[in-house]
């Protein structure tokens, strides 16, 4: 591993977050074992107060995770000059088998921490804290993910060897290559476009339905469709959206749009996609908590809000993604 400022920053940040969440989880285990809302003992009072600490810790950890995903990609971007054959982040992440898994783990941690905060937010509104035990089990799951992420990231930086020639986006996302990335890249743009926009239409329609009526089929459908939309959007970015941003018929890299040359357009693009998908998915996930008596008014209100923000964010995402298709001169057909 080398003393690169970005690597120092990421490793230091991860260690700090890991320590914080580790501490929070230790408190969480105690809460899972000893929590009794009906008790008025001093111990219960202390546990109650510890929940504040845990939620603060997790909130800070999430904040760092958001920054860390982008910092990680950017660091990969920055070290490509040190690696033979790497032309951008893809190449750097390909430099050893830990690069991409580390990125996926980061995304998983982000979603887990965000859903923890969403559940916590709901739980804090009900006077009997009905979700508390479930919440702290989720925290333990987040800890496991976080440890995985830390190890993968650490191994990735540790095992980077400058003399190993890596394959870059030109190879990985080429239409002739093998593997998932290449098959996505070689997916013909026109059907992909039709699929993408129709999926967007269906998702926003169910979103609007869930906004109007927070009932079972709608919220569940919203969940399923936003999830599908999320996966398919990533595929669409590789398949055709990137082509329009780069104005090149063969450049499929999903990371280059984060660069200065493309006015950092990738950041808002991914931010809206992640936020919109997350809220849409959560709207369905919390459906099952409706059964809890103290939650039956809180959940629909939250679902309504989330469904609304989900459609708004996903619409903004789609607008950003469509802008170059409409506005720029480049044409695939």
């Amino acid at each position: 591993m080398f003393l690169h400022p970005g690597i120092i920053a990421l490793t230091l940040g991860s260690v700090i977050v890991l320590l914080l969440v580790f501490f929070a989880s230790a408190l969480g285990i105690k809460i899972i074992r000893r929590w009794d809302i009906k008790s008025s003992s001093e111990e219960q009072l202390m546990l109650e107060r510890k929940t504040y600490l845990v939620s603060t810790l997790v909130q800070y950890a999430l904040l760092f995770e958001v920054v860390s995903i982008f910092l990680f990609i950017y660091t990969a971007e920055d070290i490509h000059t040190l690696l033979a054959g790497a032309m951008c982040a893809t190449g750097s992440l390909n430099a050893n088998p830990f690069g991409f898994p580390a990125l996926y783990a980061k995304i998983a941690v982000f979603f887990t921490a965000a859903s923890w905060i969403a559940v916590n937010h709901l739980d804090n509104k009900a006077e009997d804290y009905p979700l508390i035990k479930m919440k702290y089990k989720l925290l333990l799951a987040a800890l496991v993910l976080l440890i995985t992420e830390f190890i993968l990231q650490f191994l990735y930086f540790l095992k980077i060897e400058p003399d190993v020639i890596t394959s870059c986006c030109g190879v990985m996302f080429s239409e002739k290559g093998k593997g998932i990335a290449s098959s996505l890249a070689s997916f013909p743009p026109l059907p992909a476009m039709i699929l993408f926009y129709s999926l967007f239409a269906v998702t926003t329609a169910t979103g609007a339905a869930a906004y109007k009526q927070q009932r079972k089929p709608f919220t569940y459908l919203l969940s399923i469709f936003t999830f599908m939309f999320f996966i398919f959007s990533i595929a669409a970015i590789i398949s055709f959206i990137s082509l329009y941003f780069y104005q090149l018929p063969t450049h499929h890299c999903p990371f280059d749009i984060l660069q200065k040359e493309y006015y950092y357009i990738g950041y808002p693009l991914y931010a809206f996609l992640f936020a919109g998908s997350f809220l849409g998915i959560m709207a369905g996930v919390v459906e099952r908590f409706k059964k809890i008596p103290s939650m039956n008014r809180i959940i629909p209100a939250a679902q309504k809000r989330w469904a609304l923000y989900s459609i708004i964010f996903l619409t903004i995402f789609t607008l950003i993604a469509s802008a170059p298709i409409i506005l720029l001169p480049f044409r695939l057909y």
């Binding site: 009906k38 008025s40 003992s41 001093e42 009072l45 109650e48 006077e127």
Partner: protein, 228 residues
């Protein structure tokens, strides 16, 4: 209005220095009452006051505020009840030094979503009725004892509480100021507020408008009586 059912409060439970501050207390205070908790120091008055005022939770028993059981509420919600229902006046005034009178008065409502202009207006109105309007830009540590107390009263009134709780309010005041304090309280009672004062000052509990006496000793209620 406020009802306690067999409430007990232990401190340091299970440890060697375990203390039972309040034991098996059942009282009832009605709307519009001018109640006095009397008893020597160490009799559990202050603890009872903090239990009634949702500052702490009883070890056992129930506290009902406006027919709502608050004794098992998590802190987050207790605070809400406390902020909406009670105004507190402390023995030591407990004003924050370095802040002006009006800042001190506005403090309880900072964490609510109130606009500063509205908050300022409310504070000025209250300070006006207490005859403190010319002091509002003063820093509190520069005020006299009586003025500090009136600032503390104003602070207790800022959230327009239904119940005012005061802990030994006259302990640091001379007779004249004590009378003045009581007349302010009497006024508030006449406006429909409920007043609860913990004290062992005869000047307070001998007032004719006090209609509920609760006498405490060793954490237990020794006697309670209602006039009128």
């Amino acid at each position: 209005m406020i009802k306690t059912e067999n409430i007990t409060k232990d401190f340091n439970k299970g440890m060697r220095d375990e203390v039972t501050a309040v034991k098996d207390v059942s009282i009832e205070i009605n709307k519009g009452d001018f109640a006095v908790l009397k008893g020597p120091s160490g009799s559990g008055k202050t603890t009872l006051l903090s239990l009634i005022g949702c500052m702490s939770r009883p070890t056992s028993g129930r506290v009902l505020v406006e027919n709502r059981d608050v004794s098992r509420l998590p802190e987050r919600f207790m605070t809400k009840v406390r902020r909406n229902t009670f105004g507190f006046i402390f023995q030591q005034f407990h004003l924050i030094k370095g802040l002006t009178v009006s800042d001190n008065v506005m403090l309880p409502l900072y964490p609510t979503d109130i606009t500063p202009s509205e908050l300022r207006k409310r504070a000025e109105d209250i300070l006006n009725t207490l005859g403190m309007s010319d002091r509002k830009k003063f820093q509190v540590q520069k005020l006299s004892g009586g003025e500090q107390q009136r600032t503390a009263i104003a602070r207790a009134l800022i959230n327009n509480p239904a119940i005012i709780l005061a802990d030994e309010p006259t302990a640091h005041l001379d007779t004249h100021l004590s009378e003045e304090f009581l007349s302010i309280m009497r006024n508030l009672q006449q406006q429909g507020k409920t007043i609860v004062i913990a004290t062992h000052d005869p000047l307070v509990y001998e007032k004719e408008y006090v209609n509920l006496y609760i006498e405490m000793r060793d954490g237990m209620v020794r006697g309670a009586g209602r006039k009128h």
